[in-house]
Structure formats: C-alpha cells, structure tokens
C-alpha cells in the first residue's frame, strides 16, 4: 500500500475537514491533496530522483511527504541544525536529489551541487501546476531518514511504502478521531516521529497543529488557543514544559493525552508530570527509525495503575515502554543467540511488516526469519511489558562484569538533588573500565559525591556503585534529547588525562 493512498482515503472520507494548521496557514484534506498533486508535478518536472528537505517543517512536511509519494520518488527530511559540511555530506549520499530548503538554509545547501528550490517557491509552483500522480510500487522506498549518528557515521534508513502504511493502518483506526480533536506536533521533521505524526494523524482524521520551533511557553499557549487534545514530545521538551507549568501554572483542560518518547525519561519527571497534570493521560511510545516509529506503548491506564500500585511488579512498569503494538513480535536473545524467557535480560529483536532494518549502502540487517536486532538491552516481564535498558554498545565491563548504565542511572535519578544523570565506562588499568556517573544537580541543592555514592551503594551491589561522580552544568545531547555518550566519554578521558 502506498503512502499516497492514506491521503486519498482521508480526502474520500472528509475532503473539507481542517487537516493542518501552521501559523497563518490552514489547509483542509482536499487542499493538502491538491498541494501534494501539484507538488508531484514540480518534482516530476525537475527530473529529481529523490526529494530532500532542509527546514523546520510545519505544512512543508506533509506537503513534501505526499508530493514525493505521488511523484513516486523517495523523500528525505534532513536535520536543519547540521553544519554546512554535515548537510553536504548527507546530500552527497542522495544522488539526483531535488533539494527544497527554507529561506534560512538555502545558502547552506547552495554549494552542494544539487538543484535547489526555496520552500515558498515550491509551494507557489505546486499551486500553479497541473496535478500529477504516478504510482509507486508498495515495496519501493518511500522515506529515507538518516540516524542521528551518535555512535557512528549516520546510517540512511530505508522505509518502504509498505513499512509505513503497515504501521499506520495497523495502529490507527481510519477516521477514528473526534471532529474536535487536534494534535500539537513539535517534533522535528527529520525525526521518525515527525513523519509518523504527519501520516497517522491525517489517517485518523485528527487536525495537526504545527509548532516548528519548540518553545515551552508557546507550546502551552497553543494547547489552550487551538484546544489541543493530544501531543507528543521528546524528553527535553517534557522537562521544559514541566518547568514552565511550575513557574506559570496552567490548566490545559483540552489536553487528554501527552505522549513522550525518543529517548528515556527519568521516572521523577514522569511522576512530576502526572502530579502536575492529573487529568492528562501519559503515553510512553518506544520505537526506532528502523521500525517506522512506535513498536510498543505504555498507555495512560498503565501509567495510572503503576503509579498507584503497591505491588512492586506493577509499580515498576512506570519505567517500562509497555506492550508491543499489533503486528509486532518481540524476542529477547542472549549473546549466543538463544531466545530468553520472561524476566531475563538480553538484546531486543523485533519482527513485523512495519520493520525495515534496511540501510542504503549497507543492505538489510534482518536475519533469515525477518528479525531485526535493535541493539537495545531489554527484558519482558510475565505480562508482556517491555523494559528497555539502553544500548548494548553502552554496556560497561568492569572487572569482567557486564553492567547496563541504565540500571545505575535509574537508581541515581531518584536522589532528590539529581536533575539529570548519565553513567559511562572509562578505561582503567586495574578494572578494564570504571563506572563514572556524570550528574547535573537540581538547582539550589547541594550535591556531594560521597552522599550520592552512599545512596547508590544502598541499592546497588558494590561492584555497581559508581567509582567516580562528576558534577556538570549540563549534559551533551542531540537536538531531540539523545545523550551523546561517546562525546561525554571523550571529554572526560581528556580531562582525567590532563589532571594526572
């Protein structure tokens, strides 16, 4: 099934429904569809075999997703915060691409040897063009996204039309949204959640309100003004929204669901959000670029049950990512590849029609039975709740013992004076690696390394208590809140080397 059919169905269901709001711009499904067909003509005329976009998104994102689909060429939104050099390196990997760029980024992509058109010009040309519709094969690549490259060179993940539409039709009921429903989208266009939001909300019949440059105060204002009913944020955004609501309390009466994901959220922040917004249902969504967005969901009911539970097994689910979505199978495997049972920790493998596991240049990494190795450390409990323990690449080996940093981070984040924490392994002549906790303290609180080590020692075994505590002002993260562990390790190693 092609991505284009999702929009076609939405138009067939209700052509006059308001579909997208972006500042002053408001489009119905029929208007979005007309823009996509005209955009397909602009793409076809350019001769481009791929469409790349550098910009902040908003209406440009659904317009380009569906224009590219109707022109039957793949589409790649790129990270507009990259340097000129970084952008050029990625554009070099997209041969014969037509580049659409917001005004602020046109100069950065001008020297990349590509055909460049400004976003405003693209929209104007699309409105004037005769509609074009070409039909992509459902197994053709519809979207290519570059991974953030926190551990290696960014990988180009290929998502086929079938991967993406399997995700949407498998997890979203067509036209299931109430006419008054509105989703506030502030995740960036180059993130899989941005692509997922455009596709699934148009299919659900839910009006999309875009906030292209995230700002907590503006987010709170838009929730009120546009009567937003659902929203999705990454952890750093949630942290700022909570801080904003603590400084300037607001009711947000229209908001029913607030989804968070993209990377791990510390439990104190989850609890604080639940206490601050008791009538809002929280949703933890776990997924990867390679799996076409969400593969497991912790629902609002799961959150409330875990929050109120006295049973330790239920209470700990507040830190889980919930249960797999329909169509997704999960397996936990040990290092030797054997399949593990409930309660045992290993590497998460997933399978299903929404899972791509395919990269440009590298090919597919699925095994013979179609399983994708996520490289995430995970455990499934007796009731099928999935717990994620960080990336397997981040595992610390201290004195021959394998230690998942997440296990220690989960303990340290509960200390009242700890605001953020990341645990890393540093090379050590005696132990192989030592455990270092890098901590951002809460404002106006005194944090002593000895206290924190004693706090950790009470819960963790001696070999898992951090050997060192480093107190810092902030953690290095990507724009979407992923902690840059490699960079932190490099900086710490240099600092310790120069100190000795």
């Amino acid at each position: 099934m092609s991505i284009a059919l999702l929009l076609e169905m939405a138009v067939s269901g209700d052509p006059d429904r308001l579909a997208v709001i972006d500042g002053e711009s408001r489009l119905t499904t029929a208007e979005l569809s007309a823009l996509a067909s005209g955009g397909a003509a602009v793409v076809a005329d350019s001769g481009g075999q791929h469409v790349a976009y550098v910009g902040t998104g908003g209406v440009m994102l659904p317009a380009l997703i569906f224009a590219s689909a109707r022109a039957a060429v793949p589409f790649t939104p790129l990270n507009y915060r990259l340097s000129t050099e970084g952008l050029h390196q990625l554009l070099d990997r997209l041969p014969s691409a037509l580049v659409v760029a917001d005004d602020d980024y046109v100069n950065m992509v001008a020297g990349a040897g590509k055909q460049v058109v400004r976003s405003g010009e693209f929209l104007a040309a699309a409105r004037a063009a005769d509609p074009v519709e070409r039909f992509a094969d459902p197994d053709d690549v519809g979207i290519v996204l570059f991974t953030s490259g926190t551990t290696s060179r960014p990988k180009a993940v290929e998502l086929t039309h079938n991967n993406l539409t399997s995700y949407v039709t498998g997890t979203v009921e067509f036209a299931s949204a109430d006419p008054a429903d509105a989703v506030l989208v502030c995740v960036p266009p180059y993130h899989i959640a941005g692509v997922g939001a455009a596709l699934s909300n148009i299919y659900a019949g839910r009006k999309i309100v875009y906030l292209p440059r995230f700002d907590a105060r503006e987010w709170v204002r838009l929730v009120g003004d546009e009567k937003v009913t659902t929203a999705t944020v990454v952890p750093t955004m949630l942290d700022r929204i909570v801080a904003e609501l603590e400084a300037t309390p607001a009711e947000l009466p229209s908001l029913r669901n607030l989804a968070y994901g993209g990377s791990k959220v510390g439990l104190p922040l989850v609890r604080k959000t639940m206490e601050l917004l008791p009538n809002v249902g929280l949703v933890n969504a776990y997924g990867l670029t390679e799996t076409s967005s969400t593969i497991a969901v912790l629902t609002p009911d799961d959150h409330r049950a875990a929050y109120a539970a006295e049973d330790e097994l239920v209470a700990r689910r507040l830190g889980s990512v919930g249960q797999p979505v329909p169509g997704i199978e999960v397996q936990i495997r040990s290092e030797d590849g054997s399949v593990l049972g409930p309660g045992e920790t290993g590497e998460l493998h997933v399978r299903g029609p929404q899972v791509s596991g395919r990269y440009t240049e590298l090919g597919s990494v699925l095994d013979a039975e179609g399983w994708f190795p996520t490289r995430d450390v995970a455990m499934v409990d007796d009731d099928g709740y999935l717990f994620i323990g960080g990336r397997s690449d981040d595992t610390i080996i201290r004195g021959g013992e394998n230690i998942a940093p997440a296990e220690i981070e989960d303990v340290l984040i509960e200390h009242p004076a700890v605001r953020e924490v990341v645990v890393v392994g540093l090379d050590d002549p005696q132990w192989g690696q030592i455990i270092v906790a890098v901590v951002v303290p809460e404002q106006r609180s005194e944090l002593h390394a000895d206290d924190l080590q004693a706090f950790a020692h009470k819960v963790l075994r001696g070999s898992r208590t951090p050997d060192r505590i480093e107190i810092v002002d902030s953690l290095l993260t990507t724009d979407t809140g992923k902690v840059l562990r490699r960079e932190i390790i490099r900086e710490l190693s240099e600092k310790l080397r120069s100190a000795t």
Partner: protein
C-alpha cells in the same frame, strides 16, 4: 494467488479494497455477490447487486475471513464483501492511545 497490496474494485457498487493479508480464499473475493476485479479492469458484472449481499462496506475498516485473509476498505460502497457466499467479518481493533 492474489498479492498483498493489490487494489480491487466492486463491479456493482463503489467499494474498493486493498489486500492487507493474502490467502488463496481471496481468489473468490466478491462484493455485492459479484467477483471483485483489479482497479484497471473493466466492470462487466454478470448480475446486479445481490439484495442478500447489500449490507455495505465501511470506509477504512478491515474485513477478515476465518483463514486469515484481510482486506482494507479504501472506498465505501453498498455491497457486502464475501468469499463465495460467505460474508467477511469486520475486524475489531483494540483502540490504542495516540502516540504520534
């Protein structure tokens, strides 16, 4: 056997579907009593809409048979989807909270 992703239309109403999960049974997929044909085929029904199979197909809903076949309605119509004379059943979806 028909392939996943194949788009089919009814010959006696507006119904269109896309095959989500193909099985051999879909070779006898009908709508309103008449065989469904591909989107590019001409409509040449041998009979009018069968009044016994005029319950309609609902937009955006999934229909399944007992053998695991599944189709998604991409355009609604007045005919009933069936395998031979046996109507397909509506697949009930467990609602998930919005996460995108």
């Amino acid at each position: 056997m028909i392939k996943n992703g194949t788009r089919l239309q009814s010959q006696v109403c507006d119904t269109q579907v896309i095959v989500v999960r193909a099985t051999d049974s879909l070779d006898d997929l009908r709508c309103g009593g008449e065989p469904m044909v591909t989107l590019d085929a001409d409509k040449t029904p041998r009979a009018d809409l069968d009044p016994a199979l005029a319950g309609g197909s609902a937009m955006g809903k999934r229909y399944v048979d007992e053998g695991g076949a599944e189709v998604l309605v991409t355009k609604a119509g007045v005919g009933t989807l069936s395998i031979g004379g046996t109507p397909l059943s509506l697949k009930e979806a467990k609602p998930l909270p919005a996460s995108d």
